[in-house]
Amino acid sequence: MKIPFAGAIDCDLHPAVPDVAALMPYLDPFWREHLAERYIDQSPFTLASYAPQLPHAVRHDWRPQKGVPGADLDALRRHALDAFGTRLAIANVLHGAVALFNADMAAALCTAVNKWLAREWLDREPRLRASILVPPQDVDLAVAEIERCASDRRFVQVLLLVMGDRPLGHRTYWPIYRAAEKHGLTIGVHAGSTFRHAPTGSGWPSYHLEDSVLQATAFEDTLVSFLAEGVFQKFPGTKLVLMESGFSWLPTLLWRTNRSWRGVRTEVPWIDRPPADIVRDHVRFTLQPLDVPDADVLNRIMDHVRSDELILFSTDYPHWQFDGDDVLPEGLSDAMLRKILIDNPLATYPRLGAAAVADRTRAAMREELPP
């Protein structure tokens, strides 16, 4: 269905870097020369999970005449921000730097992407907020990039791909979570793989269809990793947002981890209460792509997870998840829609909540002023 009221907060859309040339002004002379010399500046840096020819990579009526989908700010305004009456939107740039093996090159490119995003998108469009792209190849460099960006309050989240070198709860990554907690940034884990490992425990499937369907299992294993490693106990301020994960698998995860925890808790003694309660306190899920077939199932799943605070509105622009303006599922109450579209996002991202309070204060002050 259409969005019934204005002011939604879109928690996942995707501006794209058109090419490496666009990043050149934001790279230092060494990397400019180095990338040019090796012709790396001519590489697309497209993640295989989102290769532009794939059917879900771009909605047909959002596909640009030429160039990379998502690279045009005016198109994003028209298709996503204006079309859905969006008040704030979180930009997640899915850039191939994170799949390189050379961590220094990856870090230089991530920094360039973040600088490019701040200058060419956030400066020009006040409705946009952004995630910090970090090089997961080297946690020290990732933390340095978080520290560099953190003073810009328009960055609200740290962006990681769900399939990388190791399950993301591993303590290797804890400095990232420590920095995120310190600065009031959420941890945003997005679908996609660097294909360091086969997508299944039994090796490499044949079809793109399988890779897409199996993203959800990677989110499950990632969430179990965060739980088992005790990330939420070590960094109690952590908010984890799973993006393009779907959520119809969540009841299974809550039930299975609650049960297995009773048997394995001596192995993971830091899990001090049922895992389902921890998930409900710390983990959120973006709406699109919706993985339920109808309103009846959706409402049953909502009952199974026993919370109306878990889902965050997203369009996933320009990926193809729905047609026309049919961005919301049927069958949700107005109260639930308001939570998904506005309240849950504000409660999830500390930096959005703070901005909203500031907005309200300014509005109140304006109203108090004499005409």
Partner: protein, 369 residues
């Protein structure tokens, strides 16, 4: 937690004469197989031993909980591991609970994960002999599964044909879901062809020994809690593969039993597959129907470890979605997370529904009556 089960009243499960779809017999030692192995392979065991894709010899890389992953009271007093003593299994489980039929799943020493293919074939052949002579012939309630190394499909197909012709106690084919390629890939089709032509179910049970791939697309976990969760997620990878590759278009009679892999994930998987397939169906023109229909038609599921929603009644939604004719009771005896047939299904249901899960669904799938 580890109190022995000794004397109890006749249980309600006993009245039903239930079918247990997951029982694990094991050899007291490799020597139990010597009678069924050529001299060459007996010497191979003594001089080389198994060759697996893992860093530890003689133990699992994710150590299990509780007494090596076993019921502590299931260790026989005369030595050997739990599951090696038929008399104890009868006393503790088959007789005590009134089990009418037990499907044996032989995990270790079946050669499924063995890197040396000929050795794996010899082990599988020996374990299949051993199941009949040491178990089925001593207790007719027990049914066997033809264990075959999936990475050696030519041998596997021959072994399946031979066993199906030899003894009707073989009711299914057991391969490791920790295969080197996803199970739908062409390489494995001779196994499915043989299973289908002999009217045998394909039984998939999580395997402890890895295959060289991490258990998850996210990489290796740290804790057994994570490894345990992948029993479901890694199985989903194989379900998606079997369906996407068109195995069920090619072998429409093939039926798959998912053992110890959960079942509440199946509806969500069906919805997700259908949605993605709508977008991408030109990639898999060999699929004639929405993927969820193959899932609904060709897969059966076992209960243990029983899914326990926070609100027990929610399990009804799951069973309505997957079908009350698709879930089969399993105990996992003698493993540590064994489910007692009397208490495992702790939600309200009709007698007919209980009979279906405890007995009738398995009876129909495995043609037991």
């Amino acid at each position: 937690m580890n109190k022995p089960v000794t004397e109890q009243q006749v249980k309600t499960a006993q009245k039903l004469g239930f079918v247990d779809c997951d029982i694990h017999p094991v050899q007291r030692s490799p020597k139990d197989l010597y009678a069924y192995l050529e001299q060459r392979w007996r010497e191979h065991i003594e001089n080389f031993g198994g060759h697996l894709c893992q860093g530890l010899a003689g133990q699992l890389p994710f150590p299990r909980m509780m007494a090596s992953g076993m019921r502590a009271d299931a260790y026989p007093s005369n030595g050997g591991p739990p599951g090696c003593d038929l008399e104890l299994m009868q006393r503790q489980h088959l007789d005590l609970n009134g089990c009418a039929t037990g499907m044996m799943i032989c995990l270790s020493r079946g050669g499924m994960e063995e890197r040396n293919l000929e050795f794996g074939a010899a082990l599988a052949h020996a374990v299949n002999d051993w199941q009949i002579h040491d178990w089925v012939e001593k207790d007719r309630r027990l049914k066997a599964g033809v264990v075959v190394p999936q990475e050696y499909p030519e041998f596997a197909a021959r072994e399946i044909d031979a066993r199906a012709a030899e003894n009707a106690a073989f009711r299914q084919v057991i391969i490791s879901p920790r295969s080197i390629e996803p199970l739908g890939r062409r390489k494995y089709w001779p196994i499915y062809e043989a299973a289908a032509r002999n009217n045998l179910v394909l039984g998939l049970h999580p395997a402890g020994n890895p295959n060289g791939h991490p258990s998850s697309g996210t990489g290796w976990g740290t804790y057994y809690m994570q490894e345990h969760y992948t029993f479901g997620t890694s199985m989903i990878g194989n379900v998606v593969s079997l369906i996407s590759e068109g195995v069920f278009e090619r072998f429409p009679g093939l039926k798959v039993a998912m053992i110890e892999s959960g079942f509440s994930w199946a509806p969500s998987l069906g919805w997700r597959m259908d949605k993605q397939w709508q977008r991408m169906r030109k990639e898999t023109p060999h699929l004639k129907r929405p993927p969820s229909e193959y899932l609904r038609e060709h897969f059966w599921f076992c209960t243990q470890p029983m899914e326990e929603p926070e609100n027990p009644a929610d399990i009804h939604d799951v069973l309505d979605w997957i079908g009350w004719d698709r879930l089969m009771f399993s105990s996992d005896y003698p493993h540590w997370d064994y489910d007692d047939p009397d208490v495992a299904l702790n939600f309200k249901m009709t007698e007919e529904q209980r009979s279906a899960i405890m007995r009738d669904n398995a009876t129909a799938l495995y043609r037991l009556s």
